[in-house]
Each structure stands twice: as C-alpha cells, then as structure tokens.
Amino acid sequence: MTFIVPLVALLAIGVFQLVSGVAKPTTEEVKIGYVDESGGFDQYTSQGNITLVRFETSDEATEALVKGDIKEYFVILPDYVSVGIINRYTMQKELMAPPATTTAITDFLSSNLLAGKVPTTTIARIQAPLNLVTITLTATGTMAPEQGGFGNFVIPVIFSMLLVFAIIFSSTYLLQGLGEEKENRVIEILLSSVSARQLLTGKILGLGAAGLAQVVVWVASTPLLLNLASSSIGGFISTIQIPPNFLVLAVVYFILGYLLFAVISASIGAISSSSREGQQLIAIFTVPLVSPLWFMSLIMWFPSNPIWIFLTIFPITAPVEVMIRLGVSSIPAWELAASIVVLVLSIIGVLLVTVRVFRTYLLMYGKRPGLGEVMRSLRNA
C-alpha cells in the first residue's frame, strides 16, 4: 500500500501520455431537426459539431428521425416567445437531455431571437456573460501569495482520504492482532514474558512506525509526482498547488490521529471477546473520523461556518477536517493550536484509561463486559 499509491499515480501519468499520444480526439457530426412553427428561426443552424436541419412539418421530421437521417428533433411552438416551451422528440431513453444538445438549442434560439437587433459580438457575450476571475487580497489590501482555487483543493482532498486509510488500517491491524491473540489464548503466554504496558507500547509504536513510514513516502512523493504530472499533462494539473505547511501538518495529524485511534483500538481489543466483535465496536469511532468527507462540498461552499471550527477541534474528526479545510481556506493559527492541544490531551486521557482496561480485561475471556461494568472496574482499579 505504501508504494502502491505513488506507483499508481506514476502509472496514471504514463497511461495518459501514452493514450494522448496515440488517440486523436474525434468529434462526431450530429444532425438535429427542428420545426419552426413560430417563424424567424432560420439562422445560426451550425452549432459546433451539431447541425440543425429545418423541417416544414412534424410528420416530415418524425419520418427523418425514424429513417435515421437525424438524431432527434424539436418543435418551436407558435407561442414560444411568450411561454418559452420547446418540445423535443427523441427515440433514445434518457434521464435528461445531453448538455451539448441543450447548449446547442439554447444558443440557436437566443442567437435567432437577437439577430438583427444587437451586434453578433453582443450575442456571443449574452450567451457567455461570465468568466469570473477571483483575486484574493491580504488584510493590508495587497495581493495574497496564495490565490486558492481548485488547484489548492486537490492535494488536501486526496490526502484526507489517504489519511483515513492509513489511520484505519494501522489501528485495525492492532485491533485484529489483539483480538486474535485473545481468541487463540496466546495473550497469557505473552504476558508471562512482557508486561501489559510493554505489550501495549510495543504494538502501538510498532504499527505506528509502519504507518508513519507509509505516510512519509506519500508526502515525499507528492511534490515529485506533481511536477511530473504538471509537465507531462499540463492543463488543470499544472494549477494544482500544495498549500503552505500542508505536508508538515499532514504528518503531524497522521501521528496524532493514529495514536488516538491506536489507544482506542487497544481498549476495544482488550474488552472484546473476538476479533470480529472488536471491529464492530471500532466502527463507532471510524464513522466520525470519515464524517468530514461527507461534508466536503458544504465546506467548499461555506468555508467560514462555525461547525467546521468545532470539527477542527473535536479530536476524532480533527485529522480529516483539517486536511480538507487546508484546501479550501487558511485555518487560523489558534484553531490549529487548539486542535493539536485537544488531540494530545485526548490521547493522554484515553491512554491512561487504556492501560487500566488492558490490565483488567486482557485475560478475561467470554462475554464482553458492558460499558457500566467497565466504568465501575476503572473506578475501582
């Protein structure tokens, strides 16, 4: 998995180069019929690769459609100017009209409506009125060094998903290992050689080191792959940027996110009677971990909403939320500081509970203790 991710990215760049060098884009010429019952729609019949063919009656158009001379046809009704309705006839079953067809018909209608009334250049502007260029300024009114945009969003989004995978896989291995050792009854033999604390620390640090190596490989390969993709593919790819401090924060949040999930997994592994039961229980925590991904579009459209501040500071959602927010807007330093402090305190708190749970329940087999029983034993421990 560690090297598969950058290798797949390299492969994708290679495949793109291969395909774009061999295949030339083909544009199919399409004929669409129309019946003008309103009158005045006889110009601008060439719309890119779509040619509009006029028919006198609907019957003629239907005959041509059935013969296959045209792909579809539409009827401009006599009262079109007042009601705006166009009836479209096609033999293909579809959810909605293809965007290219809709655009061609729209441009044909608007061009004919304005023909002779305004210059041709004005018709073109009416059809495409907005090409928005956003410039971000700093608090002092100067141009900001980071202009944002979708180019800034791509890497953090990809990384947030990779972070979820890395955290879940690493902590799942820990949970699975503990569960199997309990099921196989190996745990007591292990505890006759090492202490519960050594066992816990060894598993968390060992698996964490493996996960961290994975994340570091991904982080280190990102600028290289981005440069390669930018020069090979260009286009939108060349606008992709890595937000400032992103790579450092990616590593920091992986470490903290993994540690939190590792200690939670260790607790669950200690009280679970089987590996499968443990994995069912850990879902209670992995669902909130991935929840910021569900709200990605909302974060994009409403980046200043206070809910995102809460998700940034709440420890379970913080790692993924921060990654996504870094791609949308800058995060105030105080929010990042609060997020990291709360994460660290949470890890320490859960670790103290985990050590007690570990010692108490690791050698208990059979039915899993309920939450009340666990709380009571922690109070008495």
Binding site: E180, R185, I189, L190, L191, V194, L363
Partner: protein, 251 residues
Amino acid sequence: MRLSLRKGFSEMLAVEVNNVTKRYDHRAVVSDISFSVNPGEIFGLIGPNGAGKTTTIRMMMDIIKPDSGNIRIFGETLGETTKNKIGYLPEESGLYKKLSVIDSIIYLASLKGINKELARDRASELLKQVDLQAHQQKKIEALSRGMGQLIQFVVTVVHDPELVILDEPFSGLDPVNTELLKEMILDLRNKGKALILSTHRMNEVEELCDHILMIDEGKRVLYGGLAEIKSRYSGTPSLNEIFLKIAGKKE
C-alpha cells in the same frame, strides 16, 4: 533472601509467597496465602474450580498484582529478570495458528531473552524428545490438540527456566504422551528445577509431587509434604479421598 529450612541445608527458595491477598469487587479470591517452593522439587497446587489457583499463579507471574503481601522469585521481587527465569504453561493457552511450530517456539523464546540460534537448537532437541521433529515446519493450526499441548510444553521450557509452572499440563494428552510428559517433568526436577504443578488429576499429584498446597475459596486448607499429609489421614490413603473429605467437611 530467605533460606530453605525444610531440607535442612542452605538453598535459596525458588518461590516465596507471603501473606498474599487479592480482591475483585471487594471479594477476596485469594486470602492471606503463604507457601514456598524449593529448587529440585515438584510442588502441587490443588483445589476445586474457582479456588484461586490460577489467580495465585498469575500473581507469581506478575501478570496481576496482589492487593497485599509479597512474592519473591529466587530471592528477587517480581520484574523483568524474574520473568525470564520462569516458564509458564497456562491452563487456557494457545499459539499463533498461522505460524509454523519452529517459528512459534523461536519467537516466544526470544521474548525470554534467548537468541534465535540457541532457541532453534534447543527447540530441535526438545521436539525430538516429544517425537514432533517431523512436524516442525507445519503450521500450528495443522496440529492435533495433543500435539499442540506438547508444543506448548516445549515453549514453556525451551529457554531453560529455573522455575516451571504448569497449569493442567496433561489436558488433551493420550496415555502415551501423558507418560512422556511425566518423564520430562521428573527429569526437570532431577536437574534441580523447581516445578509447580496445578491440576485436578490427583493420581498425577500423588505420583509426581513432593509438597502440596490445597486452596479452597482462596484460603489455604492443606499444606506440607505429601507423605506427611497422607499420614495425617489414616484410613484414607488416596489424595483424592483426602480432597473430597476436606471439601465435604465444609458443607
């Protein structure tokens, strides 16, 4: 460092358990237990189900801590170095199913501070003794229950511990392998190792043990040399009958 007075000569005790108590939910599962075990003897730890035997053993292994009292292993308080001197075969024990026999033994020996080469040599020797050398590359899951139990025993003694604690070691063994294991246990005793044998099989206790401790409801009910205990109960020659008599007295 306490000296053994029972044998009449200076010798460090392998195990000293002094006034140890352990409570769960305010109930004493082990109550003020004291006993000692000498090197070169087999000590029987017996009692009905739920008496506190396994809890006592786990306290000796430093897996759980006593609430009061103290335990010393070869004169030292429990810790890292004492764990490496002990071989422990738990009642409910297992191995990694997907690992091979030899890899399992070497890995668990390495946790006791033995290097891989030495562990491999010792493992081969012991596997030959239990007639399982041909199976050393097989995965644990491919073994029968009896074979698995013998492998567990090999894991227990591969690092040449000074103290061996066996909790129901004969479980799952056929008569032939039971005899084989008994011979190996006696051999360890003759080499000067201290052994603690916890079992419900009274005939094995009578056959093997030098001293016994009987626990019931966490308390010590019988303690001393086997011969001396049997002589106390004239007319009831078997340990099983003594056990039933004591258990019956309480009712």
